[in-house]
Point group: C2
Chain length 205, copies 2
Amino acid sequence: MTKVAAGITTSLDGYVTGPGDGPGRGLGEGGERLHWWVFGGPWTYEDGARGQATGVDKAYLEEAEARFGAVVAGRTTYDVTGAWGGRNPFGVPMFVVTHRLEDAPAPDSGFRFAAWVGEAVAAAREAAGGRDVSVMGGPEVIRQALAAGLVDELTVTIAPLVLGGGKRLFDGFDQTVVLQHAGLRQSPFTTHLTYRVQSASKEAP
Amino acid sequence: MTKVAAGITTSLDGYVTGPGDGPGRGLGEGGERLHWWVFGGPWTYEDGARGQATGVDKAYLEEAEARFGAVVAGRTTYDVTGAWGGRNPFGVPMFVVTHRLEDAPAPDSGFRFAAWVGEAVAAAREAAGGRDVSVMGGPEVIRQALAAGLVDELTVTIAPLVLGGGKRLFDGFDQTVVLQHAGLRQSPFTTHLTYRVQSASKEAP
């Protein structure tokens, strides 16, 4: 049965970007360190030299690639990456949650727009062909999916770093969600904490 | 050499209490679940029936007891617990950071007041007799100690729970702190993430 798995990288203080992120400014001040695990160590936007994930981080990425049959992303992520150059690089259909449906991507781009997260997840489930659905972020689409009770599994990948500013994964999220441990891995660069979502509601657990 | 280790329990969204915490209201709405690891499962303020920590949680507490020769706490923690009934229960000297020095505890209570976190940590180092110093929280005293560069090791014990409100460990903390992994343990009730503090500064890493 298809599961919906949300996953995102944060600092220990819960930020998915450093201070001053945005188009042309990447992950903000100091934010590259969040993703050292993806590139096997230090990297910058400037010099372009990036290594490969290794060890448990490599395994994590390879398992994700094998597991997911469709991806859901938010419009900000789509815009900040410049729509990954205009063509979906994931090898599976991607559904982008956006209010601005008018500037939809070309049908052969591999992207499709959806007006809200429920529509995107439903379309992704159908497109996934029995495989799982990844909700890759950004934070707003993950919060929306959690609040709507659409997430079966949540992975927060915590970099060993306090950023002291930026955008928080749980900014403005006021619901209680009870979780169960479902996986734990650590590399020198990060800790992957995976949880099953047991219940999400406005009520205290 | 004496190390200073800060440690505190949070939800996955970084709260050390649920919404509406305070004197007489304990850890706030749903906040008891943060400390299931301490009591080996569910507990409430009302019924008083509390179990014991088990497995890795028990080992964590026993190691802390063996390791620490002095404890630093904040005034809010001291007040919320009613000064632990008026007598220090930790078996080692405790230093309480407070602006209100006038209502100091009796000399034989096992508590001593200090006017700021630097004074408390210095006195605790001296009192620890070569053992380590625990900065047990609350969050404000941990933030102050981190900001002052006084913390060698930080443990965040993360309960499998999104609380959606309360007091955040890193509320208002605007510095960057680079960490290194120094320990990882998980029980059914929590994940203990321990870090060495590599650098703390206003500059991005």
